[in-house]
Symmetry: D2
Subunit: 254 residues, 4 copies
């Protein structure tokens, strides 16, 4: 799927369950298909287990049996919506991301200077500031364990209502990952009017940006429901993927 998500996209069927076979990237593509439907998504990983695809190939039958008998939980994950504005007008269709939008330099550009502002709950806009660097990641909590983590961002447990704004290799060492409320929007534009900026969607789709473009990101109503089996909790996945230790037990106090 190489185009923006259309308004009434997805097949017109009654679906009980969508099973994706592949890695997290495959599930993200399936999630876009499923976003407008009501069907939950079960990610089966054919290789190394991912953050989103926590069922191994050998466990598929057990997993589907578990789903059939109701031994699962649904984790609802909202996505972010981005649009591109120029001279006060929207110049693109909306883009949807379950993990992240990245605004970054492309080609041979070494660095770019980006300016950020956020909305407030009082309906105003506040300038965050500007910084030079490789770009910026605007991520959902789901995306906190993807590119944002590599760029120095924190791990956000599902259920926290927030948006992550993680700068990529900022020149100023004082510019750090920012956690903003989920109900305000973020706007990013090029301060130095760079000609080589692109917008990347979940690491899969790319739109080149004009020097005068502003990217506006807000939380979308689109969501998917991930099927979670009892043994596939967030922290179980985290410990497995990041190699965190479990050893919580200590000797009795005798």
């Amino acid at each position: 799927m190489d185009e923006p998500v259309p308004d009434g996209f997805g097949p017109d069927h009654d679906l009980d369950l969508i099973v994706t076979l592949g890695g997290d990237g495959t599930l993200l593509r399936g999630a876009r298909q499923a976003a407008g439907l009501d069907a939950p998504v079960l990610g089966v990983n054919l290789g190394r287990l991912g953050f989103l695809t926590s069922v191994a190939e050998s466990e598929v039958e057990d997993a589907i049996a578990a789903v059939g008998s109701g031994r699962y939980r649904l984790e609802r994950r909202r996505c972010l919506e981005a649009s591109v504005w120029r001279d006060g007008e929207e110049v693109s269709d909306s883009w949807y991301a379950f993990n992240d939008f990245v605004i970054h330099k492309s080609g041979v550009a070494r660095v770019t200077r980006l300016g950020l502002s956020v909305g407030t709950r009082h309906g105003e806009r506040e300038t965050v500031g500007s910084f030079s660097g490789d770009g910026v990641i605007v991520a959902t909590p789901t995306g906190s364990t993807a590119y944002s983590l590599s760029a120095g961002g924190p791990i956000v447990v599902p259920g926290v209502q927030c948006i992550l704004v993680t700068p990529i290799c900022p020149h100023s060492l004082a510019v750090r990952p920012l956690i903003i409320p989920a109900d305000v929007d973020v706007r990013v534009r090029s301060v130095d009017r760079s000609e080589e900026l692109v917008l990347t969607v979940d690491g899969q789709e790319v739109q080149p940006l004009d020097p005068d473009d502003e990217v506006r990101v807000k939380r979308s109503d689109l969501a998917i429901s991930l099927v979670r089996l009892p043994e596939g909790s967030f922290f179980t996945t985290l410990r497995r993927k990041l190699g965190w230790a479990l050893e919580m037990e200590r000797e009795a106090t005798t």
Copy 2:
């Protein structure tokens, strides 16, 4: 103030405004006094402006005039509540922190191994895991710009409903700051039954811990209302304190 916050603490007066004179530490002490009252707090900084005390000495009269004429906004900041448990029983009064609780090694101990668990919204407990390091910070969004920031945590904009759990110098490089929902609790205990752990409250009060103690932290109902003047927004303070650039303007597209 060197003791736990008592249940019915604070003077029994009708107060319209509490003004603290000093740094952020002074305001934090004043905040404990004010936490049970309804009076908002205005922090006047006699030295370098802080994150919480954004009015300079020379601006006091203007600030009070602004408050008198209603040209201000109140920012409500909830605090965290900690208690110490041993063998299933609570063995301390409650502690309250507006910035953070820190569980860390003291004395000559080089390192400690801590085990963490969090509650879930389904009323269960989940093991996060254990890690070796200097300790762990459990912080409010307000505290995200204090010790947690020095330890590698993100900046949390006021209004995000969350608790930060920031490890201090963890041995495992994969152990990273964690953002959890504000309505679940965090429990921390020593896995190696260290004899030299202490609990620090807002960097001001210290309680030694027994090797078998478990510290339980949750969001409290206690809160203060910080007086915010129009020119003292969160991002204005951030730019000033961290040296972030403002330059958002670019040349017109002509």
Copy 3:
């Protein structure tokens, strides 16, 4: 200067001093011209002072007077040399960098997997390992305060004989900046045979890489001599550029 540095480059004159007018980038370009000469380089910065250009426009006359009367010190900075190899043959001219070589993804590639090896002093090669990420920086100590610092690298004081290898946004959180001896070489190649890799030289020149190319970097004999005035020491520059505090004085012990 958009081409590789030729063997016998530079004008054929007797020069006592090269003065560059501009920022650090200008000086880097001047340094390539001066690298084959014996003339020292004095960087005058027309804007904000840089790490390499520590003389302000208003100080030019004093600086030249100081040089004339011998009140200066020369800081010799060696550069790195890179070549590109394919199927065991060198397929490019040599490139020279005073700050850094960067091997990174270009275009829309989200990530690349790079494999690194280093030579040993016993004449063997050792595999360092491979990692996924945005790319890798191979820097001189001079370059430690440039891009490498933004990517999480340490600050290297001039005079340490080493090469920095700093990964850019590595997926594995355990992959960290590496300091290797100056007299061994580093080789970098694409493990996943990425088609969109480029080699960037001091952030100024770019060579696209073939999926099978290997970039080999070693210390070069080429060097420049930076003119350092008494008030322009490395740490003075560091404090000014990074905002480090000076306050070393404490009250007398009375």
Copy 4:
């Protein structure tokens, strides 16, 4: 061993090989005993392999056979030497560290302000600056994979002639790990005349510091020779300890 290393320490025997049984900490203690001798040290690890102890219990016989038949390499590791000065006089015996010296707050002190200076090769002293934080680590390349790594320092390959100066949780985000030449000294003192500073040696020995004390650290002539078997190279250990990937192979270009 809980006391400073005496001048003529160590047993007075002819030794061919010292074998330590235990973890890296045990080897560090053995190394102090061996430092004055000529005998190389072979670290056998009874638990999980360490950075310094890379021979497992089951491999002891093979390892000793390898040593007996000369199939090993000696890695010489120099140590650092620290002394404590007050009012211009040395007030302690010398301390020796193979990994690191740490000057840090103890007890309930939340933070301390330290001032640093380094010597230059021209025999002068230069002020580095001062910073607030938990303390500072002064480490050898060997110590770069110990505490310094947890505090954000780089990995230094054995053979680089340098000293690492790694701040611990500095308040200023611009204060970063520093690599200085091995032949200059570092001096650290309390700027705010903190009463609760301690000096820790290899994480094992502790000396309380007076508010007026200055700790001076330089490279020592003392060294140990670690026995390295062919399969126990630095990068092999690094990949195993940090979980770095090896996969360097790529498909042939056909």
